[in-house]
């Protein structure tokens, strides 16, 4: 436990982030960011500011173009050869879910568990059913993602990311396109995860979310950062003196918000 508390969950030093679809294009430069275990980070940025690419780098999906990125004190490239357990310490929820379209919701949620622990469908059924119930997805268990509303797809993606009980959860714009009821459910649920949800043994999760609307994430205990003009700016907490003065924050507080429709 002491090791977990001293090693940053994510640490970036002088990192340049390349675009996933074009490794020659740098979208964010000079990122110096350290996420301690148990912290809740909100990274705000406009469309195409590199939020998703930064988060994918933090998850070990990409290597930095320049600089050093460590996850639990290890270089992500080591993950390729490491035991899968190493990678499973980091969960990731994509914007839109990125569920597997040919699988039902149950199969989607069960897949990481079955693959990691070599379980049959029947063996994985119990924990999957319990998780689906927690996420109010039981009635949709046999539906394929194409036949689901975006609100439920996103929730199923969260269930899939949590089935292996990761220590760090990275969420790429999780509230985008959700209706107000679902949005409130997400905010409450993530808050509980940050404090330690009883379903997951009460252990607080380290969380990092990206957003294009800072208002929704207003909370004194959270830490904020902004992506602006290709740079990464740590902003501190919401109540910090310099927070609202930063030019990036002004843009993000007054950005048109499609989620409010």
């Amino acid at each position: 436990m002491s090791e977990i508390s001293t090693i940053p969950a994510i640490a970036m030093h002088g990192v340049s982030v390349a675009a996933l679809r074009d490794p020659l294009l740098t979208v964010v430069a000079d990122v110096n960011w350290s996420v301690a275990p148990g912290e809740f980070w909100v990274i705000a940025g406009q469309e195409q500011s590199g939020k998703s690419d930064l988060l994918m780098l933090a998850a070990g999906l990409m290597l930095p173009a320049v600089g050093e990125c460590q996850i639990f004190g290890r270089e992500p490239e080591v993950f390729g050869e490491a035991e899968p357990a190493e990678r499973q310490r980091v969960g990731f929820v994509f914007q839109g879910g990125h569920l597997f379209n040919q699988l039902t919701l149950t199969e989607n949620v069960a897949l990481p568990l079955r693959y990691a622990q070599n379980l049959s469908g029947a063996e994985a059924a119990k924990p999957v059913a319990a998780l689906l119930e927690l996420f109010e997805l039981t009635s949709l268990a046999d539906v394929t993602p194409a036949n689901l509303a975006a609100n439920w797809r996103q929730r199923a993606a969260l269930a899939r990311a949590l089935i292996l009980q990761p220590e760090v959860l990275l969420l790429d714009n999780p509230l985008a396109g959700l209706n107000p009821r679902h949005r409130q459910w997400w905010l409450n649920f993530l808050e509980q995860l940050g404090r330690g949800h009883e379903f997951f043994g009460g252990r607080p999760l380290t969380l990092a979310v990206t957003t294009d609307d800072l208002h929704l994430w207003r909370q004194p205990s959270r830490k904020f950062a902004a992506l602006h003009a290709g740079k990464f700016f740590p902003l501190g907490s919401w109540d910090d003196e310099n927070f609202s003065r930063h030019p990036a924050v002004k843009d993000l507080l007054f950005a048109p918000n499609e989620n409010k429709i």
Partner: protein, 286 residues
């Protein structure tokens, strides 16, 4: 895992070369095309080695998930194509075998029937036709499925869940296609030889079934069986590699999928012809 997957494409980074302006002179143009060809060969070779490595290294990993996937791919590239192959075997028998038998009988050269059938059907037409049909029916589906999965971000989703995309997506397809083409080739050869005799019989060719069988069996040796197995497995492995490489090993957008599918099928045909050429040399040497 992503590193492994991306290496095959990113090492060569053919996107950069492809987007470069075309050279103006013919020799430069030829050089540009040759360079692209060599980069593709390098990318395919790297992807094939990575897949082979994963296939061997992770043979026992997550078998409760992988076995149903492998069974599904064998069914798709083998069992599901049986009706079509029965039709093609009949057609091949009537068109090639039957006509050859009746022509040899007409010229009194029926003694050459066995060796002619072995060269034409067992060594060449059977495996090549089976490979082309599986490439058309299943290979194109591979490119489209994997290309769409890549464009929709499913590959990245697999990686963050700790699932090796090469193991989960490619290995079952490679095994399914290798076993599928091998089995279908055997069915195609048997079907073509049988229907060919039927056609000759209907044309009143004076050849008894036992003589026909004896001639063919006499012309076959153990090397034909061994090389037939090797050749069909090689066809299956490389068709799967080419189609999966184009579908998976490069970042795609949805609008790229159809273009990539055409390129994969073209390269699949070229690879099959090259493998066939290698085996012709082997037959000649042995």
């Amino acid at each position: 895992m992503r590193g492994n997957l991306a290496k095959a494409f990113e090492w060569t980074n053919t996107q950069v070369i492809r987007s470069a302006p075309l050279p103006k002179s013919y020799t430069d143009y030829l050089g540009h095309k040759l360079f692209l060809f060599l980069l593709t060969v390098q990318g395919l070779g790297a992807f094939a080695l990575i897949t082979l490595g994963v296939l061997l290294k992770k043979s026992g990993v997550a078998h409760s998930v992988m076995q149903p996937r492998i069974r599904h791919e064998i069914s798709r590239a083998g069992v599901a194509l049986l009706p079509m192959f029965l039709f093609v075997a009949l057609a091949l028998g009537f068109v090639v075998v039957g006509q050859t038998v009746s022509a040899l009988a007409k010229f009194g050269q029926i003694n050459f029937l066995g060796s002619t059938m072995v060269i034409v059907i067992v060594r060449e037409l059977g495996p090549l036709l089976a490979a082309m049909l599986v490439l058309a029916r299943v290979g194109t589906a591979h490119v489209i499925e994997l290309g769409t999965a890549r464009a929709l971000g499913e590959v990245e989703a697999l990686e963050v869940l700790g699932i090796d995309p090469v193991h989960y997506l490619i290995v079952p397809r490679v095994i399914g296609m290798a076993l599928g083409i091998f089995s279908l080739t055997v069915y195609l050869i048997i079907g073509a030889l049988a229907s060919g005799y039927l056609f000759a019989f209907l044309q009143d060719v004076p050849l008894r079934p036992m003589d026909y069988l004896k001639q063919i069996a006499g012309a076959l040796n153990w090397l034909d069986f061994a090389l037939l197995a090797l050749k069909t497995v090689a066809f299956g492995f490389f068709i799967a590699i080419v189609t999966c490489y184009h579908g998976l090993a490069q970042p795609l957008r949805l609008e790229d999928v159809s273009r990539v599918a055409v390129r994969a099928v073209t390269q699949g045909v070229i690879v099959c012809v090259l493998i066939d050429a290698v085996f012709i040399v082997l037959y000649l040497v042995t």
